[in-house]
Symmetry: D3
Subunit: 272 residues, 6 copies
């Protein structure tokens, strides 16, 4: 695995964790973001400012890369028009680049692709999508584009359904969804180094006993989380949102944004 790694979204919160960690692992890094990179660059890293919507520029940036770690784009719920450019068009540019290079994509997908599943069910990675907003919908689109490029062009891609990656968990929900920065960095590193991945989906969470997520493709890449939110349980388990929609669904507060149903949607889509 000697080809350079392109990391998009390098100037974001997670990108700034990944950049030094991947550099420390000896990888040659090309960092990019629409915002300047605020940190010191490692010796084996370079930074180029670019817009994900400029396809020809993105394709050029990816030349010679063996992996594209795609953490760029909008990462919270925003109006549709703000999501469309970076997360839909931008994603297409990433996949075209990967196809051209024979590169693997490591994609920052999200639990918000399945956020409208209830917390009381435990999900395997091949569960139906239940996006909880325009952001989650764009991430589901991203996973399916990965599926398309795998089926049609053999482009490998690992879709990380990241739960809540923060320095530490801060509320009850994160006891189920927290992904420590260290686990994130090890996960991405394994995604890069694994011999082959095919089209894979992996839950991006630490080893939390309250998890809602179960079977996925982590075996393919040889990763297991080392951290756990459990040590924060006593402190946080009473820290609820107070919003019944948030508390019912795995997507939490994202589900509640502009929620307008009187009653929850029925659980079983085949309930005729």
């Amino acid at each position: 695995m000697t080809r350079p790694v392109l990391l998009t979204g390098a100037s974001g919160a997670l990108g700034r964790q990944l950049a030094p960690a991947l550099a420390a692992a000896g990888l040659t890094l090309r960092l990019t973001d629409i915002a300047p990179f605020p940190d010191a660059l490692a010796a084996n890293a370079s930074f180029t400012r670019a817009d994900l919507e400029d396809g020809v520029a993105i394709l050029r940036l990816a030349e010679g890369c063996g992996t594209i770690v795609h953490f760029g784009g909008v990462s919270v719920e925003r109006p549709f028009e703000e999501v469309l450019g970076p997360n839909i068009r931008g994603l297409y540019h990433i996949y075209e680049a990967a196809r051209r290079e024979g590169a693997r994509v490591v994609f920052a997908s999200s639990n918000h692709t399945i956020g409208f599943h209830e917390r009381k069910v435990t999900l395997d990675a091949d569960c139906p999508f239940r996006p909880d907003g325009f952001y989650g919908l764009s991430k589901a689109y991203g996973e399916l584009m990965g599926r398309l490029y795998w089926d049609k062009h053999g482009v490998e891609n690992v879709n990380l359904r990241i739960g809540s990656s923060f320095p530490r968990p801060v509320d009850s929900r994160m006891l189920s969804t927290w992904l420590s920065y260290a686990d994130l960095c090890r996960l991405v590193l394994r995604c890069i180094l694994a011999e082959s991945t095919g089209h894979a989906v992996i839950w991006g969470a630490s080893d939390n006993s309250r998890t809602w997520w179960r079977r996925d493709h982590r075996g393919r890449i040889g990763w297991a989380p080392a951290d756990t939110a459990d040590v924060f349980a006593a402190e946080l388990e009473g820290k609820l949102s107070g919003n019944p929609v948030s508390e019912r669904y795995q997507g939490g507060a994202f589900c509640a944004i502009e929620y307008s149903r009187k009653e929850p949607s029925p659980a079983d889509p085949f309930a005729d």
Copy 2:
């Protein structure tokens, strides 16, 4: 069911079948398309030219409607940028309109959302998406937006995974996928008239004994096809494409467009 029906894509091949059929059923119709409507208008139908990308205009057009039959947009495989505007942005406008009106969406989805499933497997409607191009991907996105609007806002929507809707089948593949115009019109009429639908997915095919598709939500709306491609079997069963990719997959020729894999992708996404 007395509120008017908005039919997008009215000037297309299927729209021109639906417009007179729905009008004959006594529905009040608002037809729209970016191209002029080439046929005579029924007494209970009006036509307004509009662009699916003009959201405020689409929302206005839908005012007071109880159903939006959304057959507009790009309906074949095209470069990504040609699909994005009508099929992604345009779809969002349709769903915003439906949410505003409390209207139901009847969506012309496509078998190309699942085109990379092999022909040898039989699929239920809750099978994983396997889009076979940018067009199919946009339709999968549309189904998931329907899922989102159902879960978050209670917007009902029926997603018709249309096989091949033509005057008659013309090759071997259509013996499995053909949907007669008469079956299509009855199907859409039932989608409009059904008391409730929730988020439903229905295979849009006639009663073809060679079908690859099985369980779906047709029971909810009370529809069953009356026609069959079987009567064309003798004539067409030897009429193959000659392309092994087309013949392997349910999506047929769409799968083969720019196909660049050396070997087919493995069947089971969980095969670690």
Copy 3:
């Protein structure tokens, strides 16, 4: 009057006066601006960043509101292209939202809609428009869109021809045009609370004895100014601009921007 109030331009100078004043009056407020809201939010207020040019987002933001207080957009003279998007297209989105909601519009119009009337004449609110720049022209357009939506759809709207709303008057002209912040806030509150307004035009000035403005629709809403610029007269009456165009016309310095006439235009448009 219990429906929420949408306030656009909340992060601007006048928006920041209105937001706490309207909140203190017990109204439920939705604040929006393209720039972040720099102040603390009242308990009954929320803020959503949005672009006036994104029509579907604006329509969504206005859902359920009973009044739209529209202070957003460009508020000084700028090149045409900078005015067009926020003040023409954005205004259309506001009126579409109001029509959809059956809401009233309170519109920050401007004395610059009539700025080319000479100071020596006293104007009633139904005087002809005499815009003094692209900004003033956009505000006249806004008043006429209000007229259209009233005539065609019954959308009520109050057009406030604001003079000079600053903490205190700072030159001779403002002895005629000053609107104190307190008078502004009371005026907008009355516009919201008045039982009915129809299409109204009100001069936005305090009780200045040197005013150039007379009859308007303030009676409909039950407002009269409480402050006056007169107390600043001794200090400011000699503080002239020195520019004869500015001093001749009610619009002041805006009239002089790129003014290129050799002689003033004749006063009477019917002087054949």
Copy 4:
């Protein structure tokens, strides 16, 4: 008056009447339109295809012209977004061109600027605007831009509030509003040849005894209509639209498009 005349909208119905008439009067003509000119060119006329939205191209096209006869843009009611580009931005380009050249603008305004006045009142040209749609609103904007450029830059402009200019009247309303092609051509010719016009507004109608329009600036240019719709009265006076909104207002059918009021708006804007 020897400088060339630029005629926009030359390929439209009225442009094709004006082009040969003005050429026959000995004027040097530059014709332009976004569509090709379908007729034979007179010896003193040239045609250049151009888009009104391309400002620098329009400014170049107008170089050296003494008059711009502006009949280009959208001329019927259309969704807002279709009107904005040609009729708002395009108009600005026309006025910038006129200012640069010291040219006069002859503007195809419309009765739809005042369409929501009732038929029972008779209007002078300085009556308040009452636009009846986005088209009429764009024309009111155009008249006010003319006012601005006159007041600020001394650009002369004549605003022709055209009634119904067709080969012959075809319904009862046109007995009041018809403008014969011959009267139109004479009117525009006088607008070009008049020594000075200032900012003028003229009702564009033939000498119809059922007119709703009275005083205007025609005296300044020395024009009076020679034709009349009266000769069609017996044939047409019973030919009503059947729509009470259309019949109540001067704008006719344009007023009725998407009209959603329960009751007519009150007549007097000062009725507190």
Copy 5:
């Protein structure tokens, strides 16, 4: 030379000559244009509609090609804004594609890159550019982009400064500039088949004794014209334009478009 050839502008006048000629030479052809291809396709040719401004689509279309014969874009003098997209942005896409593929570019440049040289001088291919309009300027830009991609990336390119390629010459100027269709086809074929070209510039004219052009790089590719305009001399040499600017300069009528100089520019740029 077995890799496919991408031909842009295939549906234009010259493209329609080249497509069958290159196919007849046994080359595998990918044809593209923004307009449909109106002719029958050869067995070894395919056609894909595409827009030169869609960079990612163009890059995809060129995959695997060994030569890009770039005849697409605007081919006559047009307003700047109409030239910018296809001829400047589009050209960039072509060169990025060529760089990615290690392909050679055969570029339809034009005599209008040097049109403001006087007819009385004879030019070598390394003469200074003297573009005669926005079109010619875009072609000079194209030649220089070829120079850049050669110097920086080793992309070979042959720039054909086409004179007048028509079925036959039709005026006196073409006795100097005519390029027969047969000579054009042989020239492009040699550009494709030549072993190496570097950055080359070749006058695209038949063997006309009245030529204004002399030394170029045709030796590198082994081409010499077989036809001549001389046989039309008796018929055409008196057929002058009558315009002194056209007659003075090599660019002919293009030089005269909007020409506004009082006197010709001096010949020697170093004449201090």
Copy 6:
């Protein structure tokens, strides 16, 4: 020379040198930039924020000016799409403005128009262009647009091929290319004041004995540099980049950006 001077790019590093220097010379200045002007304004200077892509605004800003000193736009190597708007479209607006005003253009061209000439050759100003990136290519385009407007419209323009204009030279290369701020200011002043210039090209460098540049049109304007980089030679001559591409070519580090050739391109374009 009493007409005002328009200076674009006024807020940039060189603009901030030129603004006070030209003001001190008694010229009336109109400054413009897309960024605010950070310095105090001289009495005879005004500043207007504007976007070079807004053509009609730029044309207005230039009204009455006798010279446009065009230092605006992108001034370093950037992706193509970032260069296109300001440096290609923006430049066109500058030349249209100059043509309209009969003004002279003083253009900040660059040594990067000829950056791929080797350092071992000495160049005259009429040497072939050898741009070293998209930036340099945009500047070559700018010089050729100057040539076009001179030949077709008689617009005078002086193209300053600026070397390295910084407070002091900082590496070995700048011993050849440095242009002191004082020399720059005197040069631009002479360009403005010279009686006539035609289309001129001048090397923008101080009197450096290690220069690579020789003959140009400085004689026409009566300028000679007063400063020299030679005094920094001892300190800087060992300060090399360490990159062989940078060291080989006059454009230095710009040539090395994404350079992908295995061997340098051959020197002589006529080497068949």
